[in-house]
């Protein structure tokens, strides 16, 4: 075969394809600033048009499912943090829900509310990150900074409750690690006020912005039938007009008692996904506000007469020796154990000694508590669900997050399967970008909100 000369190549007269031009193969990633995480997209370009795209994943595979089989049921919770690392709380609760279903236990009322509140705060964080990053890639760096600022307020709330910003490990089978801290409600109100201001600003900056619209409207669209056939859930499914949301379709925790709307759009393009996410954040805040207003169980620290008491004042009284009226009152002293005292733990955890660790006072204060603690911690003991299998789904920020768990009756899960919400859209990504311009790959990929941790597990 005659060698294509430079001239032939430049003029597109080569004999290579017979069409008079040659397609160019361009690889994006695995390490590319716009590939959130590491992923490789090999594109075949005709000029600037993507003729064919091949998506390759797996660069962040960390054997999550294999690791889960190696430890006790609660040992997998830190691994679930690292699935979707932008909204780790939802992963925690999704995993716990599957184990609880397997065990056949129902968590306490207060715990359900806490799970709803923390899940929704995480969902807002996730959407803020997604929209902020996509906007930044289109040149709107201001939006990114605003949204990260808002996320910071919310992560401070998360830090107040869980002690960490990202690797929170807050869920427990049968409950949560600790109760909500004092003053959480007021802090949330303040953070939401700031977040709403940011969202207003972003709406003004983006929603009518000509440059943004040009890059978003009509691009990356996937039809309704195809979206369903690819089992895509979450904002991408709602952007084609299907109001499917696990929180509404198969309510868990207390979602059936809270009022919220499921925002949908018609077009299924990048802009529709953006609008759905923006509207969902407002709905999430609505849910949290309702849940905070209705959450049962009042202040954790009360004095002998049952009046709420501020822990700081309590400590001051104790230092002055004025302990007379304070005897036999549960107190909060160590910040490390905040929300972990017996009274608080009993409120947020199932009363089931086979599942939930006793409080520190019980462990160190009574032989039964110590034995109970050992029976759950020792190798070969721990939580033992009966033989069987269960699939539980929660609404993750990207769609249905499912955990399928098989138990063989021992203290280790026999099989843990995570149904990652962003795998189906990634499988369909090549369908979304083929036929479009190479530059439009970036906003489309951004709108999918790929999270490497849960995609590759």
């Amino acid at each position: 075969m005659a060698e294509t000369t430079r001239r032939e190549f430049m003029l597109g007269e080569g004999s290579g394809t017979g069409s008079g031009s040659q397609n160019l193969h361009v690889g994006m990633g695995p390490a590319h600033p716009a590939m959130h995480g590491i992923i490789r997209i090999t594109t075949e370009l005709d000029g600037e048009t993507i003729v064919k795209a091949d998506v390759e994943i797996g660069y962040l595979h960390r054997a999550f499912e294999k690791d889960c089989e190696e430890g006790g049921y609660n040992n997998a919770i830190p691994y679930t943090d690292r699935l979707n690392y932008v909204s780790p709380l939802i992963n925690n609760f999704g995993y716990c829900a599957a184990i609880e279903k397997l065990l056949g236990i129902d968590v306490t009322e207060r715990c359900k509310y806490i799970r709803v509140i923390m899940s929704e705060i995480s969902r807002i964080c996730d959407h803020l990150t997604c929209i902020g990053a996509s906007a930044m890639e289109l040149g709107a760096f201001t939006v990114f900074l605003y949204m990260i600022k808002a996320r910071e307020f919310l992560w401070e709330l998360v830090e107040d409750v869980t002690g960490a910003r990202l690797t929170i490990s807050y869920g427990r089978v049968g409950g949560v690690k600790a109760d909500l801290p004092d003053g959480f409600s007021a802090k949330t109100t303040k953070a939401f006020k700031e977040t709403r201001e940011v969202l207003d600003e972003v709406h003004r900056l983006l929603t009518g912005n000509r440059i943004f619209l040009d890059r978003m409207v009509g691009l990356g669209a996937l039809g309704r039938e195809e979206t369903i056939a690819y089992a895509i859930t979450g904002p991408l499914l709602r952007a084609v007009g299907v109001p499917y949301d696990v929180r509404r379709a198969q309510p868990y925790d207390v979602y059936d008692r809270l009022e919220f709307e499921i925002p949908t759009q018609k077009d299924g393009d990048n802009f529709a996904r953006y609008l759905v996410r923006m509207a969902e954040m407002e709905q999430s805040m609505r849910i949290v506000e309702q849940a905070l207003a209705r959450i049962p169980g009042g202040a954790i620290n009360v004095d002998a007469a049952g009046r709420p008491i501020d822990p700081a004042a309590y400590v001051d009284l104790g230092k002055q020796g004025k302990t007379e009226g304070l005897l036999l009152v549960p107190i909060t002293l160590s910040p490390n154990l905040q929300g972990q005292q017996r009274a608080a733990l009993e409120r947020v955890n199932v009363h089931d000694k086979r599942v939930v660790l006793p409080s520190k006072e019980t462990t160190y204060g009574s032989i039964e508590g110590l034995m109970n603690h050992f029976m759950l911690i020792m190798e070969g003991s721990g939580i033992r669900p009966p033989l069987g299998e269960a699939y539980a789904a929660v609404e993750g920020a990207n769609g249905e997050l499912g955990f399928y768990v098989v138990s063989d009756g021992t203290d280790r899960p026999y099989r843990v399967r995570c149904r990652p919400p962003c795998l189906p859209p990634m499988a369909a990504l090549s369908r979304m970008i083929e036929g479009g311009m190479v530059a439009d790959l970036i906003p489309t990929f951004g709108s999918v909100n790929m999270i490497g941790g849960e995609l590759d597990r």
């Binding site: 994943i57 595979h61 859930t233 249905e400 099989r415 795998l423 990634m426």
Partner: protein
């Protein structure tokens, strides 16, 4: 439709090995030969209308109490119907020396990557799959890590780009 009605509807129209509803999850076990028909029925029967293949995975029952001698792998399909808001789990069992299952890509495109992942992790093949290559691991990887006889400590060299 609730789980029991879904199971009844499938039982009436297809051969099933067993059904159960442990913890409220309607589950139907079918033979490999009956699987394509059952899956097609689940998708196309208007009363069932399972339009989404939510998840597809496998379980290796090599070390499961009471199942050591039986068929080693179970391929698990989680179906969901948007129209009726109901779910069903379809399972089929295959032996290690003949670990091949008919592909569901023709019914739901979402099966494409899920089946690649099952091949990658369990070494179960899907006949009729358009492109059955590993999804998460690299082609040079030896073995299938989610099999129960694959030791978690095993290390394999990371293979760089082809020379």
């Amino acid at each position: 439709m609730d789980g029991a009605a879904v199971l009844d509807a499938i039982r009436q129209r297809a051969d099933v090995v067993e059904t159960h509803a442990h913890r409220g999850d309607a589950t139907v076990v079918v033979t490999r030969e009956a699987l394509p028909r059952v899956l097609a029925l689940c998708r196309d029967e208007p009363a069932l209308a399972f339009d989404m293949l939510m998840d597809l995975t496998a379980v290796d029952y090599l070390k499961y109490p009471g199942r050591e001698d039986g068929p080693r792998f179970e391929v698990v399909y989680h179906l969901y119907s948007l129209a009726h808001n109901h779910r069903v789990r379809v399972k089929t069992r295959v032996d290690e020396d003949d670990a091949v299952v008919p592909s569901a890509v023709g019914l739901w495109p979402s099966a494409n990557w899920f089946e690649r992942e099952v091949w990658d992790m369990f070494g179960v093949r899907f006949s009729g799959h358009p492109n059955l290559v590993r999804l998460l691991l690299y082609e040079e990887f030896v073995g299938h890590p989610l099999r129960k006889d694959y030791p978690i400590e095993r290390r394999q060299p990371l293979i760089g780009p082809a020379q």
